[in-house]
């Protein structure tokens, strides 16, 4: 066998030769049986059948009723032959037909060369000439970056252009949009997506400063990432389509988070101080306005009052004057007497005759008794 497992064998004699058994396509294409039949087994089976046909003693595995038991038998037992043929046909059919679920597509290879794409339902790939690789084309696969899924180095920390460190975590959600390209062009699609996404996010971070990354909405960074990852995968002709990028986190690193929170608290504090000052300002301004209105109103009131009083007084005086002019002497006297009557009537009085007859005597005036209150009134 020339040191190899067989002409179609899966075995290889080259250490670096990567055969299909380990192509890292976990879960995406489950294999329809062995792509190439094992030659040893084939030959063994063939020998077995030959021996049966020749009338030898079979192991009894070709069908249930092997010709054992000593009795001479017809070397070519028609019944045996028939059942063997049926059995082989069934095995062959089992190996050749396969079904595809709605979310699956298959890539069929005729002697290793691409022949067609299998759609959902029952498919036929005549064994051993055609092999089929099944790929799930609608399942959304997720590759997480920065969450530690890619090893200890995958911590999401990266440098920004102002040489700060930012912590970005995200998921690339992708589907296989071209099974042929997906199978034939990339050896390690998942690893490629991871590497490309990681490179892209670092590229974006390196082109931006820290604060814009933290402040811009996540959608913008997500879109940028999606574009860049998609463009790179496109350039590899990978058959992969990026559905979306979920930005899980774009934040300051854990080590400095407290400081960022302190800034936020300070911003709130600033706001609070301003609001309080604003409240105070509004209060005293309103107070001042109120006081001003009060002052103005009081002044107006005073003004009106003073003028009214003056006008009243003046009017009264003029009225009196008008009548007085008609009979000044009499009116004058009358007014004087009326006023004096009122004044004198209410007060204590001592009438002292100061005529020439009394000049010899000094009148005694006990002022202390006369004055009840400290404020005295003397003539």
């Amino acid at each position: 066998m020339a040191g190899s497992g067989g002409p179609w064998g899966g075995g290889d004699d080259e250490p670096g030769d990567n055969n299909k058994g380990q192509d890292g396509r976990r879960g995406n294409g489950d294999r329809r049986g062995q792509p190439m039949p094992d030659v040893d087994q084939l030959m063994k089976k063939g020998q077995e059948q030959l021996r049966v046909l020749m009338g030898g003693k079979g192991n009894g595995d070709s069908n249930g009723r092997g010709p054992g038991g000593g009795a001479p038998v017809n070397p070519i037992n028609r019944q045996n032959l028939f059942f063997t043929a049926i059995g082989l046909a069934l095995i062959w059919a089992y190996l050749s037909f396969y079904q595809l679920k709605p979310e699956e597509r298959s890539v069929e290879l005729l002697f290793g060369r691409f022949s067609s794409i299998g759609e959902e339902g029952l498919n036929f790939a005549p064994w051993p000439f055609v092999t089929a690789e099944i790929v799930n084309t609608t399942r959304q696969n997720t590759t997480a970056i920065g969450t530690g899924a890619g090893g200890a180095q995958d911590n999401g920390l990266m440098l920004t252009s102002d040489q700060n460190i930012v912590d970005i975590e995200f998921e690339v959600v992708w589907i296989i949009n071209d099974p042929t390209k997906y199978l034939f062009n990339l050896k390690d699609p998942e690893g490629t997506i991871r590497a490309v996404a990681e490179s892209a996010v670092r590229d974006i971070a390196a082109r931006s400063q820290l604060m814009p990354i933290l402040n811009t909405d996540r959608g913008a960074i997500g879109r940028l990432l999606e574009e860049e990852v998609q463009a790179t995968l496109q350039s590899y002709d990978s058959g992969i389509s990026v559905v979306r990028v979920n930005l899980l986190k774009s934040d300051a690193p854990e080590e400095v988070k407290d400081s960022f929170r302190a800034v936020q608290a300070a911003q709130q504090e600033r706001d609070r101080l301003q609001k309080e000052a604003d409240a105070y300002a509004n209060k005293i301004k309103a107070q001042a306005r109120g006081n001003a209105s009060q002052t103005a109103e009081q002044a107006k009131a005073y003004s009106t009052q003073v003028v009214n009083v003056a006008e009243g007084d003046a009017s009264r005086f003029l009225s009196i004057l008008r009548e007085y002019v008609k009979a000044p002497e009499v009116t004058r006297k009358r007014m004087y007497l009326e006023a004096m009557e009122q004044v004198m009537g209410g007060m204590k009085k001592i009438v002292m005759s100061g005529g020439a007859e009394a000049t010899g005597a000094v009148p005694y005036l006990p002022l202390n008794e006369l004055i009840p209150a400290p404020k005295g009134a003397t003539n």
Binding site: G112, E269, A277, S303, V306, I350, N379
Partner: protein, 292 residues
């Protein structure tokens, strides 16, 4: 018993037939060796034949392969150090050349060779750049330069380097602490600034408000005094107008009013002489009418 000879003969013929047929998959390239000599290089998939037992086939992956370099730390043009790693995507284009250059080590050996090409390229290209350049939009240009250089060199291995990209361009571990400390200091500066600005704004607002209040109050007082003054003036004018018609009579009536208000009540004691005008008729001997 001819069958005894027939069966082995058939088996040998079948085995020979089978071992002369082989397929080449879409994902493979195949070398056909005859006693170690390269006879044929196949890069199209399909069914092929070879001379059994004499010729041997070697299968190689025809897909895009990955290479991730180990992180390397080195100084850049501005003497600042960065830890850099990169990944390359490559595929075998010239199988014969590849085999001759790489030997029997296959893909693994090729990866090692390619790593030995890419790593120095990364160092060389970034070594001429500054940290600012690496952390800017010039990064793409640097990556492309690394890729082009690596592609040129890797061509001798029969390899096409499809892409080289920088992944990590990070600060060395021992610089991280300093960087974090700097970031913290920056934040603290910002926080202090925020509070200071808050206080500034608050103080300004308060002072402005107080000023406004004083302005409003004083303006109101001024206006009030003006109004009062005008009213006083008007009063004076009114009084002057009225009383000016007979000042003497005004003095008389006003005096009487003043007496009435000033000497009100029984709090006042008065010593009067009956000679006063009020008592003109009080002790008069004659109540006769004055002579005409």
């Amino acid at each position: 018993m001819r069958a005894i000879y027939v069966i082995p003969a058939l088996v040998i013929v079948a085995a020979a037939a089978l071992s002369s047929i082989f397929t080449v998959d879409e994902r493979e390239k195949v070398l056909v060796l005859q006693f170690g000599e390269i006879k044929q290089s196949i890069d199209k998939p399909g069914l092929y034949f070879k001379v059994p037992f004499i010729q041997d086939i070697l299968r190689y992956d025809d897909r895009i392969l990955g290479l991730t370099t180990t992180p390397q730390e080195f100084p850049l043009a501005d003497n600042r150090r960065l830890v850099v790693d990169a990944f390359a995507r490559w595929r075998i284009v010239d199988l014969e050349k590849f085999r001759r250059a790489v030997g029997s080590g296959g893909i693994e050996a090729a990866s090692a060779n390619l790593g030995a090409i890419v790593n120095p390229e990364v160092r060389d290209v970034l070594g001429e750049a500054t940290v600012e350049m690496v952390l800017s939009s010039a990064r793409v240009g640097l990556m492309n330069k690394i890729r082009d250089n690596a592609r040129e060199k890797a061509a001798t291995l029969g390899i096409d380097v499809i892409d080289v990209r920088l992944t990590r361009t990070d600060l060395p571990q021992q610089n991280l602490t300093a960087t974090f400390a700097r970031m913290k200091a920056e934040r603290e500066r910002e926080a202090t600034d925020e509070i200071a600005r808050g206080n500034e704004a608050a103080q300004t607002l308060r002072a402005e408000a107080e000023r406004t209040a004083v302005e409003i109050t004083s303006a109101a007082n001024k206006d009030a005094e003006i109004v009062r003054g005008q009213a006083d003036a008007k009063r004076i004018a009114i009084y002057a107008d009225a009383y000016g018609q007979d000042p003497e009579f005004f003095a008389f009536t006003r005096s009487l009013t003043a007496y009435q208000t000033a000497l009100k009540g029984d709090t006042t004691s008065m010593v009067v002489s009956p000679d006063s005008d009020f008592f003109r008729y009080f002790l008069a001997e004659t109540a006769a009418a004055p002579k005409p």
